[in-house]
Amino acid sequence: MTRRHLLGAAALVAAAGLALAGCTGTSSGGETPADRTLTVAVGTPPVSLDTLKAATGVPGTWFETPAYAAVLTRDADGQIQAGLAEKWGYVGDGNTEFEFTLRDGLTFADGTPLTATEVADSLTYFTATTTGPTRAYFAPMTFTAVDDLTVHITSAVPNPIIPDMLTVGLLGGAPISPAGIADESARAGDTFGAGQYVLDTAQTVSGDHYVYVPNENYYDQNAITYSQIEIKVIPNPQQQVQALKTGQVDAIVGDPSIGGTVTGGGFQEIHQPATVYNFYLMDRDGKVVPALANEKVRQALNFAVDRESIAQAALGDYGTATDQTAIDAGPASGYDAALESVYGYDPEKAKQLLAEAGFADGFTIPATYLGFSPTDTTIAQAVASQLAEVGVTLDLKSEPDFGSWVNDLVSGNYAATLLTGDGSQMYINAQFAFTPNAVMNQFGVSDPALNDAFQALATATPDQIGAAAQAVNTVIVDEALALPIAANQSIIIFNGDKVTPYYLGSTGELAPIETWPLK
């Protein structure tokens, strides 16, 4: 082969490459007005598409909300609105009886009629079978079809947020079709709802990308905005940014490492406090660590950590130091700005309280955390370092996977754990971490003041909920039932020339992706 031949071959390869690029050149942000597709990127695939096993929050529910319509919905301000049901409300006082009436003529995506019987069956099945994070909230409820369109709910314990639980956010309020209920294994990789879209299994590659196409049987065809929704799994945040910049995706779930790095060219960013990093002090009866039974000791731990510096180190501009497990997300969260000043960074005060409690020489707390998360690792180690300054040893166990962490949690060997908590609803927050049967209360500790405040919240009328939730929050903070560190922000970075993601006004919850307006 001569040099001329080689140069010719090289030119051929280059030309082929350019031709390929030219065939369908990727756009760098701009899309045609006729493009009615929405493509978003997330970092991890869903644990399962089954609503009984799926994660709540963002982006967990992104895989569910397009395909599963809920009994009730929220408007842009976060207020409860009609969904599959057009009428709803509590029956009598006490927040234990509730009833809703469905629209007439509804069907599931597969064409099966969707009447009160199917909805009651789905809710009953969900309550009895789910292993997801919302199991405890649904467990006390029973569901009965009163007639073709009316479902009656009876709750064994007062529940002031039944309407919220019937929205899609907690998953149970979104009915599963009879075919879905009959085939548990199929639900993991397909959808069986009555939502605006259905999963297109032919175009979907599980774990890589999920494609949703319009549901021809959805009751309100005018509400369907997109001709296709695709959720791509792109593990690395930097790759997500590249995909966004090159127009391959329209929006990504950001994190502090990429927040603020995508600017200009129509790209925008929105963010909102979403969760709180808490060290849950589970062993408050002192079975593993006797010192933790002492309120002064728990308060001392809260005085010993410099939340501002930890929030800055772990979350940068997207972290806010807080000593509350609640976030500022409307009255139901129970957030109280006045409580932010209860525990300032005061190591001397911490030492004094430890001495008064009889633990001046310190003690050791075995604690576990999700070591595969860099942010969790930073926070856990920083807290351990600062507690050591007042003589308390946080004996950390870093777990490489979620299953190992759960094993630690249920083992009863660990007195504390670091985890993000959803602080937007105190009724849920308390049942997640502080009431006797709470998931994050593995030692089953019962706190009389907390129980009384929670009972008042559970029976509160809508206009009493704000004050009742704050009362619960006050007990949690004053008795130092947890060691909150920092509020973490949800970050969405998107192509503003294409879509407009938004947070719901009163709750701060991110609107479901299928409701994002198309430009």
């Binding site: 082969m1 001569t2 040099r3 080689l6 071959a9 490459g17 350019l18 390929l20 690029a21 065939c23 369908t24 050149g25 990727t26 756009s27 760098s28 695939p45 644990v47 399962s48 598409l49 096993k53 292993t131 997801g132 994070p133 919302t134 199991r135 405890a136 294994s185 199929a186 639900r187 993991a188 990789g189 590659v205 599980s206 774990g207 890589d208 990308h209 791509k232 799994v233 792109i234 593990p235 690395n236 930097q238 790759q239 590249q242 995909a243 910049k245 090159t246 391959q248 490489p400 996977d401 979620f402 299953g403 190992s404 759960v406 094993n407 949690l409 249920v410 998931v439 994050m440």
Partner: protein, 313 residues
């Protein structure tokens, strides 16, 4: 030839057994609990035990392995613990992606590596030095880093090729090829460097042989000397290297697929390992082993075709 093939196939059976057994034992030693991962802390103890039984995680490892082997013999690779999908079906969807990438990378490495090797053997010292440096650098640069740099230049800065994603061939051959350009280049770089060096050394050695001098004296053109006689003389070592590169690409594709977000076996391996999705991990190990066996068989057949002594032995 047939005997050779049959002997190699027969030898691959114990290899498959050993690989699947080792994979089973190793994954059983990994800390963690897929049932806990799937259920989370909210599940009741009864739900947890029921799932462990359903997934046969309550059985001893040997029993699990026996059941797995019986399933494999019946063509059943099991179902993903998390997605519930048939593992064989999942591999069937993802294997073409990985093979497109690996075959593309190997072919590119072969074409460019041979061209560079021959040029450096026949065109003087400067090019030989370039190949030396290129071999060193190409072998040292991690393919995922090369991939990130290529994406930053050709996708983000120039906007001519996609940064991520894969388009099936049947959907659009042009988009399919476009989606593979950068990953194939990233995967092939170290192979190009290795092949260029092997070919250069082989061609240089062959050119110094007595028979080449005879051919040259007989008036055989230089082009024929190089491309027919010298290259063929070094083809056995070249085939060996290509086989090794192909097999090494199986592991290389894990990182490259993750960089370019390609839905192949490599990215599936990462997800399945992180979740301890045992049936999927087993399926991937089996698929990789079979591909390796097939490649080695092809290499052996190539030896026999290229070297009559092998056929005789």
């Amino acid at each position: 030839m047939l005997r050779l093939i049959l002997r190699r196939v027969a030898l691959s059976v114990p290899l498959l057994l050993v690989v699947t057994a080792v994979t089973f034992v190793l994954q059983s030693l990994i800390p963690g609990d897929p049932a806990r991962s799937l259920l989370g802390p909210s599940a009741t103890p009864e739900q947890y035990e029921a799932l462990r039984q359903a997934l046969h995680l309550d059985q001893p490892v040997l029993v699990q392995y026996r059941d797995y082997l019986l399933g494999v013999l019946h063509g059943d690779l099991g179902r993903s613990i998390f997605t519930g999908e048939d593992v064989a079906g999942t591999l069937a969807v993802r294997l073409p992606v990985s093979l497109s990438l690996i075959i593309g990378g190997t072919v590119l490495a072969l074409l460019v590596g041979v061209a560079l090797g021959v040029m450096s053997a026949t065109r003087g010292r400067a090019l030989a030095r370039f190949v030396d440096v290129f071999s060193l650098v190409g072998g040292a640069l991690p393919n995922f880093w090369v991939g990130l740099v290529l994406a930053a230049i050709f996708a983000v800065a120039l906007g001519v090729l996609p940064a991520t994603g894969y388009v099936p061939f049947e959907f659009s051959p042009a988009l399919w090829a476009q989606s593979l350009v950068l990953p194939v280049i990233a995967l092939s770089l170290s192979g190009i460097a290795t092949i260029a060096k092997v070919v250069r050394d082989g061609v240089q050695g062959a050119m110094a042989q007595d028979f080449m001098r005879t051919l040259r004296a007989a008036g055989v053109p230089r082009r024929v000397l190089i491309w027919k006689h010298a290259l063929r003389n070094s083809s056995v070592s070249l085939v060996t290297v290509v086989g090794v590169i192909f097999v090494a690409s199986l592991s290389g594709t894990i990182l490259v697929e993750n960089v370019f977000v390609l839905p192949g076996i490599g990215s599936l391996a990462v997800t399945a390992t992180a979740r301890q999705d045992i049936p999927v991990i087993q399926g991937i190990a089996l698929a990789f082993t079979i591909v390796t066996i097939v490649v080695n068989l092809l290499v052996d057949i190539s030896y026999a075709l290229l070297n009559p002594k092998v056929r005789v032995s």
